[in-house]
Symmetry: C2
Subunit: 362 residues, 2 copies
C-alpha cells in the first residue's frame, strides 16, 4: 500500500470508528473550559451569575463539563472579554456587549441603548422578536456566539456633587458614563469620562470628575460614592435594562453538539433570570440604607430628559446613515419599542402606578 | 442457608451491585414521564411552554429523559392537575397554583394575589426572597415539588358589556373571575362565576354572565369576547403577574438525582422566561387589532380600585387569623411588596413613564 492510500484508509477507518462509538460518548465528552468575566469579584451579583451558570452546567452533566470562572483582570482586563473569546484565549466570557461599541456601534443594541427597552422588553425582543437573529451576525463577525445572560433592570442616573437643575448645569460637566451613552450625552455639553471602577472613588473625591454613574443602589453603595456626592439622580435613561451576554468562541460553540449547547443555553438563562431577581431583591434595601445615611434622591428635570431623548435620536440617525447593520437593528428595536410601550402603559404601568400610590400612603 | 438469611444476603448483594454500577448509569437513566397541563392546546403560549420545557429536557439528555405533554382534558381536566400529580396519575403537571386555593388559601400566593407583585417581583420574591422555601411546605403537604414556570405579566381586567362607572355598577354583576379573586370581589357585590373556558363565550353572549376576565389581549382575542362585549377594562388588579408552576410528584422528584433535578430546573426556568417574552411580544399587536376592530379600552375608576384594595386587605386579615401558614407567607410577601415598590417607583417606573410620554407623541 502506497503511503497516500494508507493515510486515506486510516482516515476512513478512523471516521468509521468515530461513527461506531457510543452516542453518549459523542454528545457528552469531558470538557474543561475557562470563562473570563468583565466583573470583579466585588460585583458579587454579576460575578455570582457566572459561578451559578458554571454550577448549572456542571450539575447538569455529572461534572463532565466543567467551567472555571475568572474575574476581571485574572486572565484579561474586564473590557477585553470579547477579544479574549474571539482569539481563543478562553472559550467563553461574561460581559456587556456595549463595551465594544467602538468596534461596531451595533454592539450597543446587545446591552441597552439610551431610551431603549426595559428588561422584559429586551428579553421579548431578543428571544421572541428576532433580536437574537439580528445580533447573531454581529457576534459571528467577531468570532463569537452570544447568549443573553442577566439584566440589571433600569439603572440609576448616577451620583452628582451638585444639583442639576437646567441644561446649563450639564455644560462642561465631567461625568463618568459607560461608552455608547457618552456619545449621546456629549451633545448636551457633558464631557464623558472612561475610568476603571477601582479609580472612580478617588477621581470623584479629588474632583477629577464631577459625577459618576455606575449601576444601582446595591452595587453603588459598595463603592462608597454617597460619602462624597450627595445627589443620586434617576432614571439612568441610557440603561432602561442593561442586558449582559455570555460570549462563546464560535468554533468552540459549534463543536459542542446539541446536548451541551442546550445545557449551556438553559444554564445561562437560569443564571440570568436569577440575577435580575437578585438585583430586584437587594436594590430596595440598599436604597433604604443610602437614604437613611443622607443620600438625596433627585429626578432628572423633564427638560434635561427631553433634550437627552432628542440627542439620542440625532445620534441614531447619524449612525444609521453610516452603518447598514446599525440601521437594520435600530429599525427593528424602535418598531418593537413603539408597539411594546403602547401595550405596557395599559396593564403593567397602571397596575404599578396604583400600587405605588396606595403603598406610599402606608 | 436459611431462607431469611438468603434474602438478606441477596439484598446486600443487590445493594452492593447498585453502588458499584457506573456513575453515569445512575445519574442519567432512561425515563419516560407524562406531563398533564391545565392548558388546552388553543392556549398556545402556555401549552407551548410545556412543549418547550419537554424539548429542553430531551435535548439536554440526548433523549434519555423524555416527557410527553398532554393538554387539559386528555388525561385529567385542567383544574385537577395538582390531584393528578399528587396521586401519581402522572409524574408532572403545568398549572396555576391558585386554582387550588379551596384546598388551602395559601395556594393563592404561588400564582398571584390581588394587589400583590408584578412578574419580576414575583420572581425576586420566589427565587431570592425566600418565597420558594415558604411555598415548599405547602406543595409538600400535597405530595408535590413546585418549580415556578412562566408568568403572563399583568393581566387585563376583562370584558364588560356595560361601562363600570361607580361601585353601584358592580352590585349584582355576574362576573367570570378566577378563584381567589372572586373571594375578594364579592365583597363589592359582584357575583363571581366559575365557568370552563369553552363555555365562556356562549355564557357571555346569552347574558348568563355580564362580564368575563381571562388573560390578556393575545389569549382573549382568540375567544372572541370583543364581538359581544365592547369595554375592555384594565388593570387586572388580581393578577399583577400570574405565575405558573411546574408540579412534580414529590417522591418522583426525589428519585431523580441531582443531574436530572438540575436539568428539569434550568429547563423549566428557560421555558418560563421565554413564555413571558412571548406574551410581551404578542400582546401589543393583539391589542392593536382589537382596538382597530372597535374595542373600547377603559381604566377601572379610582374609587373602584381603592375599594378593591380595601376588600383585598380585609380578606387577607380574615384568612390570616384562621390559617397560620397563610399569615406567615402573607407577612413575607407584603413586606417584600412594600420594599420593592419603594424602589420600583424610582428607576423602573420613571423610565417607563417617560418612554410612554415621549412615544405617545409620535
Amino acid at each position: 500500500m502506497k503511503r497516500r492510500a494508507f493515510l486515506r484508509a486510516a482516515a476512513a477507518s478512523f471516521a468509521a470508528s468515530s461513527i461506531a462509538a457510543p452516542a453518549v460518548a459523542q454528545s457528552t465528552p469531558e470538557l474543561k473550559w475557562r470563562l473570563t468575566a468583565s466583573w470583579p469579584k466585588s460585583l458579587d451579583t454579576l460575578y455570582g451569575m457566572c459561578e451559578d451558570f458554571a454550577k448549572n452546567v456542571a450539575d447538569s452533566t455529572d461534572n463532565k463539563f466543567q467551567i472555571q470562572v475568572f474575574a476581571a483582570g485574572e486572565i484579561v482586563p474586564g473590557l477585553q472579554v470579547l477579544d479574549a473569546v474571539q482569539n481563543g484565549t478562553v472559550e467563553m466570557g461574561s460581559t456587556a456587549g456595549y463595551y465594544y461599541w467602538g468596534k461596531d456601534p451595533s454592539f450597543a443594541f446587545t446591552t441597552a441603548i439610551p431610551f431603549g427597552l426595559n428588561a422584559r422588553q429586551q428579553d421579548a425582543w431578543q428571544l421572541r422578536g428576532g433580536g437574537m437573529e439580528l445580533l447573531d451576525g454581529l457576534f459571528a463577525d467577531f468570532g463569537c456566539y452570544g447568549l443573553p445572560m442577566g439584566n440589571t433592570g433600569t439603572q440609576m442616573g448616577g451620583w452628582f456633587r451638585k444639583e442639576i437643575n437646567t441644561l446649563d448645569d450639564l455644560n462642561g460637566l465631567k461625568f463618568r458614563i459607560g461608552g455608547f451613552a457618552g456619545n449621546v450625552i456629549k451633545r448636551l455639553g457633558v464631557v464623558p469620562q472612561q475610568i476603571a471602577p477601582g479609580d472612580l472613588y478617588p477621581a470623584l473625591e479629588k474632583g477629577t470628575i464631577d459625577a459618576v454613574e455606575w449601576i444601582g443602589p446595591y452595587d453603588d453603595e459598595k463603592l462608597g460614592f454617597s460619602k462624597i456626592a450627595k445627589y443620586y439622580y434617576y432614571p439612568g435613561w441610557w440603561e432602561g435594562g442593561a442586558n449582559g451576554h455570555l460570549l462563546i468562541n464560535r468554533s468552540k460553540w459549534q463543536s459542542l453538539g446539541k446536548t451541551y449547547q442546550t445545557i449551556v443555553t438553559t444554564s445561562a438563562r437560569e443564571a440570568g433570570l436569577r440575577t435580575t431577581a437578585k438585583y430586584d431583591l437587594v436594590n430596595p434595601t440598599a436604597m433604604k440604607r443610602l437614604i437613611t445615611a443622607g443620600t438625596q434622591l433627585r429626578a432628572f428635570p423633564p427638560p434635561i430628559m427631553e433634550a437627552s431623548f432628542k440627542a439620542a435620536n440625532e445620534t441614531y440617525i447619524e449612525l444609521a446613515k453610516a452603518n447598514a447593520r446599525f440601521k437594520r437593528i435600530l429599525d427593528s428595536i424602535m418598531a418593537f419599542r413603539q408597539d411594546s410601550y403602547s401595550w405596557w402603559q395599559v396593564a403593567e404601568l397602571s397596575f404599578d402606578l396604583f400600587q405605588v400610590k396606595m403603598l406610599g400612603r402606608s
